[in-house]
């Protein structure tokens, strides 16, 4: 069984390589269509002479044909060389390493909150069709899909920060007067927990809550809707009728028989959900001034600093492919009808 799983993981990773390659090629193509001459940007200054620019262009390989540039680009990526950011002056890889944990912490917390709320809501709505709960859930889903993330984030700030004063100032990961934890993993909640600093943990959590809830709201509606629909479909299926006919207990029918089957389609949409969240990162980080990779890339884009944008796009796509592989593997374990191959 374990050998089968390992084989499956290997095969899936191999199968995702073409997708990753495609992602790299697409990113490269997009970046080469850029207006303007990158060599000019990296030159010493606006007064740089022609020879300097030509020399720079030659050393950057911009005078070679496109396929050669692509190969060179691939080599750079493999070495981890994503260039240097003009605005921060540091290597892009360094910047991203500094800022990625903030984005991931936000996304994972949001996903956790979303699942915690949407799965039970969808389940209960399916178990009591036509009831108040069902109508409420369906209303919530209908409205939830309509509300833009950035508006809900701002309105949450208005309600919980300005009106109620419960939320802290929405401008950073941690209060300016408090100090961040030692950089072990980069995830504040984990780092505070490791060092046993409960006060710091709570401060970080309070800062994290509002942006995470904003992002969670965004995916709450589709998740709840999918759970409800899937649960309804399963509850009406033949094998549930058999389970009732065999006199199985209510718990066993709902949880062991119905829920496990109903969660399978929900698992398949996790990939898309995660992808949407990665995209929504850009909006939420902007609204809450969250110091993550998305705001880093966005600031770079607006300042015409393209190296960070390139790395960001590649990174997001790679994360997505990886998450999909994981989901694929999990699904293969959960559903015996999917062949091992």
């Amino acid at each position: 069984m374990l050998a089968g799983i390992v084989r499956r993981v290997g095969r899936r990773l191999l199968a995702s390589l073409p997708a990753l390659l495609g992602v790299v090629v697409v990113t490269f193509t997009l970046m080469r269509v850029l207006p303007g001459d990158p060599a000019v940007f990296f030159a010493s200054g606006p007064s740089a002479g022609r020879e300097e620019i030509e020399e720079l262009r030659h050393s950057m390989g911009l005078d070679k044909p496109i396929p050669v540039q692509l190969v060179r680009y691939l080599g750079e990526i493999v070495r981890g060389d994503f260039g240097r950011s003009m605005t921060t002056g540091q290597r892009v890889v360094q910047d991203i390493r500094n800022r990625l944990p903030a984005s991931l912490e936000l996304t994972v917390t949001a996903l956790f909150i979303a699942l915690l709320l949407s799965l039970p809501l969808g389940m209960v709505a399916a178990l009591r069709p036509g009831s108040m709960v069902d109508h409420a859930v369906r209303l919530l889903c209908t409205l939830g899909v309509c509300m833009p993330t950035f508006v809900s984030g701002l309105l949450l700030i208005y309600a919980f920060y300005y009106l109620l004063g419960w939320a802290p100032d929405p401008t950073a990961r941690i209060d300016i007067f408090a100090s961040p934890p030692p950089d072990i993993t980069g995830f504040y909640l984990i780092d505070f927990a490791i060092t046993g600093d409960s006060e710091g943990w709570w401060a970080a959590f309070r800062q994290l809550l509002l942006p995470a809830v904003t992002m969670a709201l965004f995916v709450l509606a589709p998740l709840a809707r999918m759970t409800r629909a899937s649960m309804l479909a399963v509850l009406g299926s033949d094998f549930i009728r058999t389970a009732h006919a065999m006199g199985l207990s209510r718990f066993r029918v709902i949880v062991t028989y119905a829920l496990r089957n109903a969660l399978l389609p929900v698992l398949t949409i996790m990939g898309i959900v995660f992808s949407t969240m990665l995209g929504a990162n850009v909006l939420v980080e902007k609204v809450f001034s969250w110091p993550g990779v998305a705001s880093y890339a966005l600031d770079a884009l607006l300042a015409s600093d393209y190296a960070p944008v390139q790395a960001f796009v590649l990174l997001m796509a790679a994360i997505f492919v990886l998450v999909n592989v994981i989901i694929d593997i999990l699904y293969g374990i959960a559903d015996p009808r999917v062949s091992v191959a």
Binding site: P18, A19, G22, V23, V26, T27, L30, M31, V33, L34, P35, T142, L143, V145, C146, M147, P148, T149, F150, V151, L154, L155, I157, Y158, Y161, Y162, D169, P170, S275, T276, L278, G279, A280, N281, V282, L283, K286, V287, A297, L298, L301, L302, Y306, V309, Q310, F312, V313, M316, A317, F320, V321
Partner: protein, 291 residues
């Protein structure tokens, strides 16, 4: 029954069916009215605005909603309601063109992939996988970076992001019906493969797609607004819902809620209308609902 009366009764039948759906489903009727109102505003909004959306009047900046300015004024003293109405046209235009483009191209490609299968299907599938690996905003940022910060590029970026969805959907729907008896019967009745896909299968898939198109419109509007919120595509001083929210974001922490709320409500209501309309469209187009 003569042929003429038979043909005219068919058209009357469709009209009667539409009315039946609207009557039995008040929510759809409300949504239809809402969508019609939006289209009206999009077309005639600029003629109806009480104030010039671009005219600044700094002394009256940041005023709360009042009798003169129903939605208040923004940081440059411009009337928010006028800007809101004016922006409807732009936002709807972006959404409609993006969705229309991706639907037309995606449905045909997906339909053929679902029908023919084989190598075409595999290669298109790989292309779609690569495209879907890029989260929307990320790809939009990349495309804008590459092609320039213009409205047309927003439309193209949204259309491209949407494409995989329609391709997959059309492919799945066609695939499910592909082996049905009536599709084989079409072949026996003289349809070529091309004819089966274009004239028999795709029209049959239409009801399922209609709901998706309507949902997509709402989604496209949200995306266009989101992109301009972060500064891509539409630039100030053009009135656009996303930009209005971006400009108003600075003032939310000081309690000036109206700059963000009214465009936000506008967005929400628009998307809501299109979403609800989608369900109604499915009922109208699905022959199984006809009585």
């Amino acid at each position: 029954m003569s042929v003429v009366s038979f043909l005219s009764s068919r058209h009357a039948g469709i009209g009667r069916h539409v009315l039946y759906v609207l009557r039995s489903n008040p929510v759809t009727a409300v949504a239809a009215v809402g969508a019609a109102a939006l289209l009206f505003i999009a077309l005639f909004g600029p003629l109806m605005v009480p104030y010039d959306p671009l005219a600044s009047d700094v002394p009256i900046a940041l005023q709360a909603p009042s009798a003169e300015h129903w939605a208040g004024t923004d940081q440059l003293g411009r009337d928010i309601l006028s800007r809101l109405l004016w922006a409807t046209r732009l936002d709807l235009a972006i959404a409609l063109s993006a969705v229309g483009l991706s639907f037309a191209v995606g449905a045909v490609i997906g339909g053929f992939c679902g029908y023919v299968g084989g190598r075409l299907d595999r290669w298109v599938g790989r292309f779609v996988d690569v495209l879907m690996a890029f989260p929307l905003f990320v790809l939009a940022m990349a495309m804008v970076a590459a092609l320039g910060n213009r409205v047309e590029n927003i439309v193209v970026a949204t259309a491209v992001i949407n494409l995989p969805f329609y391709i997959r959907f059309a492919r799945a729907e066609v695939n499910v019906r592909r082996n049905a008896g009536w599709v084989e019967a079409s072949r026996a009745c003289g349809d070529s493969h091309l004819s089966v896909v274009l004239r028999v299968l795709l029209p049959n898939v239409l009801p399922a797609m209609a709901v998706q198109i309507s949902l997509n419109l709402g989604w496209a509007i949200l995306n266009a607004a989101g992109l301009s919120f972060i500064g891509l595509g539409v630039t100030p001083p053009t009135p656009e819902w996303g930009i209005m929210v971006a400009e108003g974001a600075r003032f939310i922490t000081t309690g000036k809620w109206w700059l963000v709320s009214f465009p936000g409500i506008g967005l929400m209501l628009t998307v809501l209308c299109f979403n609800l309309l989608g369900d109604g469209l499915r009922d109208i187009l699905d022959p199984n609902m006809r009585t």
